[in-house]
């Protein structure tokens, strides 16, 4: 493929500018909140102000009398219509074969409230203002109950039960790895390092708030849902089949331009059910647009782990065994993929890029009176990396081994791939040591002591942190995923539609909401078919246009969707060769195809791709007896393995001991994302990913009052998003080893930044404070937290 790149300025490997940019730059994007339909109504949700309560009564009479109010719905109305709960699509199997507990998750509360923001009533009115007034007029009588908020509290004897039928609040108690072998490793260890940590709770906050419009057409008995989804086909399948009982051929789900997702928009949400169902009830379109403060109490949250981890080492600092025990917050209900995130996407990743022979991990998933917790960029893998890489630094500090050196001693060598870990994964390819070496050079690791001394002269504490990581992405080989609990396949699909003119429309089952697929998918077609990328249009996000697909999350679009696209293009080429052979009066086996031209081998007789496309549609001289006309091919591709991007990141920080403020000064990311389709886009993905991880490490914190269950960080005034002046320019490099099991060699780049950066930044912060006896700092390393650590240690002692 590299040869073709050299000749093809818009093919794989070219940093072409994005095809999708124009509409966004001109203000002509088409987001759900921008859409209007004739006769449209507006929906507003009344949400619970309490974290845990029984609903004694709901009185909608006053609301219904208000001008413009069309209807007011409550949980009782959903029950009467036999509307089902929001299903969990990925339960897991716990210790001893125990099933995940899946209590009903109603779209509108039925009798009990389980978190602040739990939807109670849905008011539909002629205008948004009238719907808001209506929601204010709904009278709800609550009986408040004691709430349980933190995961440790949820496990205490006598803790309030989020669900009456689950008195211990445990959703599933899961494990992976060989416990006996790991215990044996600890028994023979020369040193054991231990670390207790909290992985702070986050809110994903894509810049476009969620929105949904339901549009029921009574004349066709047909429903359309317009929604801000990364995954329109699953909204269609879950909502149609399990919640509303709409036959699949009577439901269309469209996700037009979506303003960022980061995982938060892949789940099936209550509001999608409500607008679709309410539209049928009122026989008019119903539009709901989330406000940001409403998003904080209705989008699924992320992370929220409490973990104890220990590493057994021999006297040379070789890892012998890793034991991890985590308690993960599921929130007040199971979100679509909730239980899968802190289990399957966490435990197996604890092996990292190291040769640790024994790993054992157990995870208790618990219910609390908080928002449901689910995937957010990285999803389980940043948590695993944070745990492992923080613990590795503790090992280095305690054994007095340099932090780069302890990693070097344990890292999997390039020659050892494919590498089977003790926790399920078989890494097909990678060179983490190559990434580490490149990163150490790019960050001038050796020059750090001089920079630290210089900072000390200025009264600042300077620290450097390094982290390696591995990611399992390209979700997912269906057979493996189904064994791990997913209720569906995780293949991907693509259709390549060649027009009579040789222009191409591609229908992708993935969804682009910032990733630039309209460009990168066109580049794949450009390389395969030898046509310019501008001759290719990419369509996605409409279940009536696109064959079944499985959306965009888990860095899967290039590895799984791109592979489906390459396969469909291969089918187009196969058929085109038959047509070309007929046109050139040659044997099919003698036809060569390169750079958009079919040639009879060894001759100068040629036909272009355009010639063949025309002949396929105007078959005047065409072997119709043996070959169908037309030129359109479809592929469904199921990967044989996960893909495993890996890499090494280095951060450098300075801490002002007077204020505790951490300034991130330098960041280097060296990532193996497999084949790079568009280096400009890959770099942009890594920039964004790193800053999201930096956000977790230094700024972002979703905080609940631990007694009342009130969300204390419910707006951008309280929840600190990274701003332009929060971060420095970073250095991004790739260190490519091709994936061995897909045609393009791609691994995925969407999440690598977020996976590596939290541990990298905190390792740097701890490094700056190490002389004070500090071995860990929980996230976010806010000025308040860091200042207290320095004060408790008796002052900064700058220069020591």
């Amino acid at each position: 493929m590299a040869d073709q790149n050299m000749k093809n300025p818009t093919g794989i490997g070219a940093a072409i500018r994005r095809k999708e940019d124009m509409r966004f730059l001109l203000g002509r994007g088409n987001y759900v909140a921008d859409m209007k339909f004739q006769n449209m109504t507006y929906g507003v949700l009344l949400r619970s102000p309490h974290a845990h309560a029984r609903i004694k009564s709901i009185d909608t009479a006053d609301a219904l009398k208000l001008p413009g109010v069309v209807a007011v719905f409550t949980g009782v109305d959903l029950l009467a219509d036999k509307v089902g709960g929001l299903p969990c699509a990925w339960p897991v199997t716990g210790k001893g074969g125990a099933a995940t507990k899946e209590p009903v998750h109603p779209a509108l509360a039925q009798g009990k409230i389980r978190h602040v923001g739990d939807p109670v009533a849905f008011v539909v009115a002629e205008t948004l203002e009238q719907a808001r007034d209506g929601a204010e007029a709904v009278m709800v009588d609550y009986e408040e109950l004691p709430a349980v908020v933190g995961v440790l509290d949820a496990l205490k004897t006598g803790a309030p039960a989020v669900f009456d039928e689950i008195p211990d609040n445990i959703c599933v108690d899961w494990e992976i790895g060989d416990k006996a072998a790991t215990d044996a490793a600890f028994a023979k260890a020369a040193h054991v390092a231990r670390l207790g940590l909290v992985n702070n709770r986050l809110v994903g906050n894509p810049m476009e708030p969620r929105a949904a419009i339901g549009d029921y057409d009574i004349s066709r008995d047909h429903h359309t849902l317009w929604t801000t989804s990364q995954f329109p086909h699953i909204a269609k399948l879950l909502m149609g089949n399990f919640v509303l009982g709409i036959p699949q051929h009577k439901l269309r789900v469209v996700s037009p331009d979506v303003g960022g997702g980061f995982g938060v928009k892949q789940f099936h949400y209550a509001e999608e059910v409500l607008v679709t169902w309410a539209s049928r009830k009122v026989c008019r379109p119903v539009k709901w647009v989330c406000e940001r403060s409403e998003g904080f109490i209705s989008d699924a949250h992320a992370r929220d782990h409490v973990t104890e981890a220990e590493m057994a080492l021999d006297e040379n600092g070789k890892f012998l065994g890793l034991r991890v025990s985590t308690i993960a917050n599921m929130g007040g209900y199971l979100s679509t993929f909730g239980p899968n995130i802190p289990t399957n996407l966490y435990g197996p990743l604890l092996a990292g890029v190291y040769t640790t022979p024994a790993v054992y991990c157990e995870v208790k998933c618990v219910f609390t009176n908080t928002l449901p917790v689910d995937a957010y960029r990285g999803a389980g893998r940043p948590e695993a990396t944070f745990c492992l890489e923080r613990l590795v630094d503790v090992c280095a500090i305690e054994m007095n081994i340099p932090k780069d050196e302890i990693r070097r001693r344990n890292i999997i060598r390039k020659e050892a791939y494919p590498y089977q870990t003790p926790v399920m994964m078989n890494y097909d390819s990678g060179d983490p040591l190559g990434c580490l070496d490149k990163a150490l050079i790019a960050a001038d690791w050796k020059g750090f002591p001089a920079r630290k001394a210089d900072a000390a002269k200025r009264g600042k504490l300077r620290g450097i942190g390094v982290c390696t990581y591995v990611e399992a992405c390209g979700l997912a080989p269906s057979r493996v995923a189904i064994r791990l609990g997913v209720r569906g396949g995780l293949f991907e699909s693509a259709t390549v539609r060649v027009h009579p003119t040789g222009h191409v429309t591609v229908l992708m089952g993935t969804h682009s909401h910032g990733q630039g697929h309209e460009t990168t998918c066109a580049q794949i077609v450009s390389t395969k078919l030898g046509i310019p990328a501008e001759n290719v249009e990419i369509v996605f996000g409409d279940t009536d246009k696109v064959q079944f697909g499985l959306g965009t999350y888990g860095s899967r679009s290039a590895a799984v969707g791109g592979s489906a696209l390459a396969k469909a293009a291969n089918k187009v080429i196969m058929k085109s060769k038959k047509i070309a052979a007929h046109m050139l009066e040659a044997d099919e086996s003698d036809i060569e195809f390169e750079g958009g031209v079919f040639t009879v081998a060894g001759t100068d007789r040629t036909k272009t791709f355009g010639d063949v496309a025309l002949m396929a549609h105007f078959p005047v001289d065409y072997p119709l007896e043996i070959l169908e006309p037309g030129l359109e091919e479809q592929s469904f591709y199921d990967p044989v393995n996960f893909t495993f991007p890996c890499g090494a990141h280095i951060a450098e920080v300075e801490i002002d001991p007077e204020t505790g403020f951490v300034q991130l000064l330098n960041y280097v990311a060296v990532d193996d994302v497999g084949t790079v389709i568009n280096p400009m886009i890959v770099e942009g993905q890594i920039h964004g990913g790193v800053v999201q991880g930096v956000g977790q490490a230094l700024f972002e914190d979703c905080v609940y009052d631990l007694v009342s269950g009130q969300l204390l960080s419910g707006s951008f005034m309280d929840y600190c998003m990274p701003r332009a002046d929060s971060v420095p320019n970073m250095t991004v490099q790739t260190h490519v080893t091709a994936c061995t099991h897909n045609e393009l060699g791609v691994k995925g780049c969407g999440e690598v930044g977020t996976i590596g950066s939290p541990a990298t930044v905190i390792n740097a912060v701890v490094d700056a404070l190490q002389h004070l006896g500090v071995t860990h700092v929980d996230m976010p390393a806010s000025p308040n937290r860091v200042w207290r650590i320095i004060a408790n240690a008796g002052g900064a002692q700058v220069g020591k």
């Binding site: 500018r17 994005r18 999708e20 940019d21 124009m22 509409r23 966004f24 730059l25 001109l26 203000g27 002509r28 994007g29 987001y31 909140a33 921008d34 906050n205 894509p206 810049m207 476009e208 708030p209 331009d257 979506v258 303003g259 960022g260 980061f262 406000e291 940001r292 403060s293 909401h513 910032g514 990733q515 630039g516 400009m680 886009i681 770099e683 942009g684 920039h687 964004g688 990913g689 790193v690 800053v691 999201q692 707006s715 951008f716 005034m717 998003m721 990274p722 701003r723 332009a724 002046d725 971060v727 320019n729 970073m730 930044g753």
Partner: protein, 159 residues
């Protein structure tokens, strides 16, 4: 109340309720949905437009205050069929991903660049503190603004 103002070069006369926000007027009544609303606390900057040449957050501007004002939204920044130099720079430097913050980001950047032909990255980052982007990590936005500023001033010189 009745207000008259110039919007993207054309006169507009419209009756506005006293509580109506400029963002609501543009999006809900005048059909200009390029101005986005990404928060409800005047923090995100997705709604930035120009009023009398200065960037303002339209989510915090009362429409009633606009009588006789000149308003430019993202739809009116470039000449028809073309791109403003700042829009070109965002395209060239990959300064956008999902596109949701982009209109506000571009409008804010244009105001900044008017008086800053050769800004430092630090100055750009300081100015854009009121515009949140969740996708790009800001690095390519900073590069775009620096390039856009240079192009805006080159255009002025050339003209």
């Amino acid at each position: 109340m009745q207000i008259n103002f110039t919007l993207n070069g054309k006169p507009v006369s419209v009756d506005v309720p006293p509580q109506e926000l400029l963002s609501e007027l543009l999006r809900e009544r005048l059909g200009l949905t390029g101005t986005h609303v990404g928060c409800d606390t005047s923090q995100c900057g997705a709604c930035v437009v120009h009023v009398d040449g200065a960037s303002v957050k339209s989510c915090s501007t009362l429409a009633a205050s606009l009588n006789d004002a000149t308003v430019i939204s993202i739809e009116g920044l470039a000449p028809p069929g073309g791109l403003h130099p700042m829009q070109k720079a965002f395209h060239e430097h990959h300064g956008l991903q999902c596109g949701f913050c982009t209109p506000g980001m571009v409008m804010s950047a244009v105001d900044f660049a008017k008086d800053n032909a050769k800004p430092t990255p630090e100055a750009v980052r300081g100015w854009l503190e009121g515009n949140i982007c969740r996708c790009t990590g800001y690095q390519n936005i900073v590069a775009s603004v620096i390039a856009g500023a240079a192009a805006m001033h080159a255009d002025v010189k050339g003209a």
